[in-house]
């Protein structure tokens, strides 16, 4: 913790006047790298082994749920999404997207819950429940290796801008912006971690620190609490917007979920 405080002081000193926003730094496109690059070789090996990677416990669970007819007799996910009928392979690489029905931005979790409510007449699943994580992991795993590319035209533009705003906004007791770690100091050490560029391409992912599987929003909550800012709610419009900004920023990186992280 002392190192984190020291870093906070250092960064605020570098920033000169502590303003509301950090400088609009960027990672050059040719330097964009997955967080995987910054992991210990043992952690990389765990992610690479489709049996040892514990994230597959959730992928398996998701696959089972996907094919199961709900108790109410509603159609299974699989009955509307098969290879020859609305296939889901690769789709997770293009999320979040605008939901035409509500005019709001939705990530994969929100899309799955929308299908439950609109097409299966079932209640939405709770954030971070094994069922929602499992279905999300399964759908994301169908996009493994697919390069991220998202649409920020039209109404999505406002979300993109809001996400970008949040990324450069200095906040919390440490008065730090996401950009100050993930754009300006990636590759450097912060406590036991090597700071990565902060891409979301491995999520949902298994984190050793959690001893379980979790969503991108859980990771964002950890980063926000790390700088002693108020973590936002799971599925909040701002985190959705940040998710879109992160996806645009990581465009071209391959999807890795189920990733393994420290």
């Amino acid at each position: 913790m002392r190192r984190l405080v020291a870093l906070a002081l250092l960064l605020s000193a570098c920033g000169g006047q502590s303003g509301e926003y950090a400088q609009q730094s960027q990672i050059p496109p040719e330097a964009i790298q997955s967080g995987y690059t910054f992991l210990q070789p043992e952690t990389q090996a765990l992610q690479d082994d489709d049996f040892a990677n514990p994230g597959f416990l959730w992928v398996d669970k998701g696959e089972t749920l996907f094919n199961q007819i709900p108790e109410t007799g509603a159609p299974a996910c699989a009955s509307c999404h098969a290879a020859d009928n609305r296939p889901l392979s690769g789709v997770a690489a293009h999320y979040p997207v605008m939901d035409e029905e509500t005019g709001k931005l939705m990530n994969i979790e929100a899309r799955i819950n929308a299908c439950r409510e609109r097409h299966q007449d079932l209640a939405p699943l709770d954030h971070e429940s094994d069922a929602l994580l499992g279905l999300t992991a399964y759908v994301a795993s169908l996009a493994r290796g697919v390069p991220i590319s998202v649409n920020i035209d039209g109404p999505a533009r406002n979300y993109y801008e809001a996400g970008k705003d949040y990324f450069f906004l200095r906040k919390g007791q440490f008065n730090l912006a996401c950009s100050q770690c993930h754009n300006d100091n990636w590759g450097k050490k912060l406590r036991g971690d090597t700071i990565s560029q902060g891409h979301g391409n491995a999520f949902p992912a298994y984190r050793m620190e959690w001893q379980t599987f979790g969503s991108l929003h859980r990771r964002l909550r950890d980063c926000d609490s790390g700088i002693r800012a108020e973590p936002l709610d799971y599925g909040s419009a701002t985190y959705m917007a940040v998710e879109l900004y992160l996806a645009k920023r990581a465009e071209g990186l391959a999807m890795e979920s189920p990733g393994v992280r420290r």
């Binding site: 049996f51 040892a52 514990p54 597959f56 416990l57 959730w58 398996d60 669970k61 050793m208 001893q211 379980t212």
Partner: protein, 104 residues
């Protein structure tokens, strides 16, 4: 969820690799929640693997073992028989999976 990796077939005398993973929090009993209350211990105590009814691998688990324990071990294929993997937690609840090994 349980994940097993075991070959379906082997030749007599062959050394086979068996892998087993189970989803379990392995809660140590040493952690506290956000209200300061101790989170009760909840761990698997025992893993056992039998081949044609004989124990070929067995292990006792302790709170220091990470969540979702994963084991890899080896056995010699001798005859066509069931391989059973089982886990028992501290309350006596038991989970198991079987795989048929065909030996030629």
């Amino acid at each position: 969820m349980i994940r097993i990796s075991a070959p379906d077939t082997a030749t007599a005398g062959e050394i086979i690799e068996l892998k087993a993973m189970i989803q379990h929090p392995m809660e140590t009993g040493y952690r506290r929640d956000s209200k300061g209350e101790t989170i009760p211990r909840n761990i698997i105590k025992q893993f056992r693997c039998t081949y044609d009814g004989n124990i070929i691998f067995e292990g006792e688990f302790f709170p220091g073992i990470a969540a979702n324990p994963f084991l890899t071990f080896h056995a010699r294929a001798t005859r066509t028989a069931m391989i059973e993997f089982s886990w028992t937690d501290q309350h006596g609840e038991r989970w198991s999976e079987e795989r048929l090994l065909t030996v030629s």
